[in-house]
């Protein structure tokens, strides 16, 4: 199914207001939705016949920096039986980055969301087990934020310059 067909199918189901923006320079083409409508959109994309995005390949967190004041979470979807791709994006405020978890739809979201939480401090509602995954639990700050400055000492060991 082409990108246009997917968009029109979504608009027919949820109305014009669902799609915030479309980015056709992105590869695969990217669709932006509101953070509070993410779960219902994803559920629809996952279960509807003809769309059937059964695989969530990649979740990427992204920080646009303090001037822009926004963060993004980008989902790369792929449908194995239909062989089509889609990129779905949500923009969050940097002050309060909160998002609903996709673990009820895809189990793979569990660890990938934990990683986004760990490195960006984006909080996922309804996540069954939101702990840091790569860094120690008592590490200060979120390293992939653009204004991150690492601590000087960790447990008495000097952190490298």
């Amino acid at each position: 199914m082409t990108f246009e067909a997917i968009i029109s199918k979504l608009k027919a189901e949820f109305g014009e207001g669902l799609v915030v923006s479309i980015d056709e320079t992105a590869s695969p083409n990217c669709l932006e939705v509101h953070a509070d409508r993410l779960v219902e959109t994803m559920e629809y994309l996952h279960q509807t016949e003809g769309l059937y995005f059964d695989s969530l390949s990649c979740i990427t967190g992204l920080d646009n920096g303090p001037e822009a004041g926004t963060m993004e979470v980008i989902y790369n979807l792929y449908s194995i039986p239909c062989d089509h791709h889609l990129m779905v994006k949500v923009t969050l405020s940097r002050k309060e980055p909160v998002l609903d978890s996709l673990t009820p739809i895809w189990k793979t979201a569990d660890w990938q969301e934990r990683e986004v939480y760990d490195l960006f401090g984006i909080h996922f509602n309804n996540h069954p087990d939101l702990r840091r995954i790569l860094l120690p639990a008592d590490w200060e700050g979120f390293p992939l934020r653009k204004d991150y400055e690492h601590q000087t000492y960790y447990r008495g060991v000097k952190v490298a310059e």
Binding site: T25, A26, S57, N76, T108, L119, I133, L134
Partner: protein, 398 residues
Amino acid sequence: MFDNQNLQQSEPQKFKSEDLKSEEMIVNIGPQHPSTHGVLRLEVITSGEEIVDVVPHLGYLHRCFEKHAESLPYNQTLPFVDRMDYLAAMNSEHAFVMGVERMLGIENTIDKRIEYIRVLVAELNRLASHFIALGTYAMDIGAITPFPWMLRDREHILRLLEWASGARMLYNYIWVGGLFYDLPVGFEERCLEFCQYIKPKLKEFDEVVLQNKIFVDRTANVGILPADLAINYGITGPMLRGSGLKFDLRKVDAYSVYPEIDFEVPVGKGEMGTLGDCWDRTSVRMLECYESVKIIEQCLTKLTGDHKRTRDFDPRATVPKKIRPKAQDFYVRAENPKGETGFFFRADGRSDIPFRCKARGASFVNLSILGELSKGGLIADMVAVLGSIDIVLGEVDR
């Protein structure tokens, strides 16, 4: 002295012993344990010999790949890509380079000889990676001998790749727009000799290990993974194919020169037990080795025939002086020995440094199913399941 207080603050256990039932206990396996294949700690809740839950603790090998990638130009990130899946560096390089080339729009200007060399070295590396997977897996199960066999045969591949690139494991050989260097003179002949040497060895391994009664008893009907659950968990690579789904990105995406090459995609059939058990996954890796040898031979035919070396061939001729893609979001994926390796790039169009570079490690995603597969089994079965996932901690932690 061991200070439990420190551990509880830095990497706390998910379960507390006071919350467990009276017959249950917490057993820590790793981070330094041969069967965890690297620095991975498993918090195992056991009830006698039976496993109630497994909680993997990662991050002991976290080397901040994504943070580094945000401060380095694309071509200088390549050595870091090598160090993610250090058993199959060529494959990761190939994926990364392919992504950058597509962003620049130069993927069709690459010389065919370069593409064939890329596929050749990537498949050699896939063989090397599968050899480690199979050898260590046999050792996990209790067979010592196959491991040195596989290391011996892998060493032949590493020497070939060292001859081409100068390094045993971390090559920086595939460059954006070209290669570090053409193949050394005589490489094709030596590589063909290696193919002749390896085929009977593969057969021998197949007979001695995979058909072995003890091995079959330890792996058949253990850790059964149905295909729908695998897809929901984002599992890719030999693990997904072991569950019977014929899904290989080399065929599906048909990248590089793979569409010009004739090879099969082996899938699990549940020959020894149930479809999707540990034996099936191992057997898929074994069969993929034969296919890789087939691909290598076809590449060599092309490299000595249609695209043979010429005096004026320069693999660096198409390497761009400045790598500055247009502003865009880009996701690229490729079939690595462990599964789908993906890179997400955001280029801002103003600099030759990516604004964001995310690596999707196949091992990281595949490992997340360990708890689900091991629950209710025995501790020994958990070791069998973990080995059949085939993880590299460099890629899990990145």
